[in-house]
């Protein structure tokens, strides 16, 4: 796939990516390398200039997408519950049922009891949880996340990372997770796709096998560090253009 914006910028070129159902894939790269552009093409929010998107194994996935932006992107005039219920209500689910499912989802992201709080009253991490609950409330096949935790402090980010993994292990939706953090990508993803800028393209793909991740205290283990080093080298290559 490729994307050229009306301004002439060639944001993404020659991207060819196979994603299997249930994958957790990270898109890693310096800023401006077309990660967001690629994700928005996958979501169908912008058309591709070249190439196309196929859902051979799971045609329903095309219309079963959850999207999490870098900012929580909540409606400030609506409570957490109403925010999470939005996708269901837009699809015509009766209000009462939508709210019941939204409340359930809020509890899943550990926000039980905050149903009636307005976004203004929530912390950055809590707002992000609401945003994730909203993305998951429709039980999507495909979850797209665009640097969702980049604006959060490290402690909050670690917790949200772990909670996201738990949710993914339980539901096994497919995740494409955009990040510019090496550590985050290694911690979360089984497949790490490193992108390089100008024009945005895929440089290399690395794997973090599930077996490696199974070690206790993965985040502080030697195997984690080894993967991080490997990914860092790939990223340096992407930035240096060497």
């Amino acid at each position: 796939m490729a994307k050229r914006y009306a301004t002439g910028t060639l944001a993404v070129e020659g991207v060819d990516l196979d994603i299997a159902r249930g994958d957790f894939l990270a898109l890693l790269g310096p800023s401006g390398c077309g990660k967001s552009t690629l994700l928005r093409m996958i979501a169908g929010l912008i058309p591709a200039s070249e190439g196309r998107l196929d859902f051979p194994a799971d045609a329903a996935a095309r219309r079963s997408i959850g999207f999490v932006f870098q900012e929580p992107t909540l409606m400030p005039w609506a409570s957490a519950l109403r925010n999470v219920a939005l996708p269901l209500e837009l699809a015509g689910t009766p209000r009462r049922e939508a709210e019941a499912r939204a409340a359930e989802m809020l509890a899943r992201v550990e926000l039980g009891g905050f149903e009636h709080a307005y976004p203004r009253a929530l912390s950055g991490g809590m707002k992000m949880r609401v945003s994730i609950a909203r993305a998951l409330v429709t039980k999507p096949r495909l979850l797209l996340m665009d640097e969702p935790f980049a604006a959060l402090d490290e402690i909050t980010r670690f917790r949200l990372n772990a909670d996201l993994l738990d949710l993914w292990r339980a539901e096994r939706f497919t995740v494409i997770f955009v990040t510019h953090s090496v550590f985050e990508s290694v911690f979360l993803a089984e497949r790490i796709v490193v992108m390089a800028p100008r024009p945005g393209r895929i440089l290399r793909e690395l794997a973090v096998p599930a077996a490696d991740r199974a070690v206790p205290e993965f985040r502080t283990s030697a195997i984690y560090a080894a993967h991080c080093r490997e990914v860092s080298h790939a990223l340096a290559e992407a930035m240096g253009g060497a």
């Binding site: 169908g44 409606m75 609506a78 996708p87 837009l90």
Partner: protein, 263 residues
């Protein structure tokens, strides 16, 4: 915090009292005749004495003001929504709204009063013309300043135009609309008064502006001032009421209505 809040009320009140006392003192000390400048005490007495006739005029002015404001608010909102739905409509109509706005109301009021038989309807139209634009332009800005990511989100979930308008654009535009309404409240009063000044000599209307004119001709200057006090008081009351409305509607979510008294 408490101290500054107290100061916010105390300082202007104290200044006002000082000003009025100085005024009263000057009028008495220099023995200024009441038909040149009446003192505040005399004005208050006149207001109390003539209340029965003045209150009738006040009611008429209020009716025109609020009718004009209501029409301006609903038409402004409706037109802004129409603009948001179609760029062609916006591009073809917006210049005329601007023309309507920049033409001085005193210049067109006589024409409107000639064309429209019913004086009250003519006054209402004048007040509406003045009050209409801030609501239209503010709401248009509001409808166009929705969060782009939220718009994408609605698109992702296949929201209809109607859903986007009702659930996204209108709530986003609400603070802008209310800010416009606050400006328009005062303008509707000004429009009603100005139009009545133009029409009032015909003798058929009898709102507050007519009372001011009448008292002026008869050199009843204290009565003129009493009517003027009523006009200003009404303007302040309208502004405060609309500020309160805005505060109540937005306090749960909008930054402009953060805890504290309405601004």
């Amino acid at each position: 915090m408490r101290a500054t809040r107290l100061l916010r009320w105390m300082a202007p009140t104290l200044l006002g009292v000082l000003f009025l006392a100085g005024w009263e003192w000057a009028v008495r000390a220099k023995e200024v005749p009441p038909f040149i400048l009446p003192g505040p005490v005399l004005i208050a007495e006149t207001l109390a004495r003539d209340w029965s006739s003045l209150s009738v005029s006040l009611l008429i002015t209020l009716q025109i003001t609020f009718a004009a404001l209501a029409v301006a608010a609903s038409l402004g909102l409706l037109l802004a929504v129409l603009f948001a739905q179609s760029r062609v409509v916006e591009m073809s109509l917006f210049p005329y709204a601007v023309i309507l706005q920049v033409t001085p109301i005193v210049a067109i009021a006589p024409l409107i009063i000639i064309w429209v038989d019913d004086v009250r309807a003519a006054l209402l139209i004048c007040a509406w013309i003045v009050a209409f634009f801030p609501i239209l332009s503010n709401t248009t800005v509001g409808l166009n300043s929705t969060d782009r990511n939220l718009e994408d989100l609605f698109r992702l979930y296949g929201a209809s135009r109607w859903q986007v308008l009702w659930r996204l654009k209108l709530p986003s535009a609400m603070p802008y609309f209310l800010a416009g309404l606050r400006i328009s409240g005062g303008l509707a009063l000004i429009g009603a008064i100005v139009a009545e000044f133009v029409a009032g000599t015909g003798g058929r209307a009898s709102g507050l502006a007519y009372r001011i004119l009448e008292a002026g001709y008869q050199l009843q200057i204290p009565r003129m001032f009493a009517a003027l006090v009523l006009v200003s008081g009404t303007g302040i009351a309208i502004f405060l009421a609309l500020s309160l409305l805005s505060h109540l509607l937005l306090r749960r979510w909008h930054e402009s209505a953060q805890a504290g008294e309405p601004r």
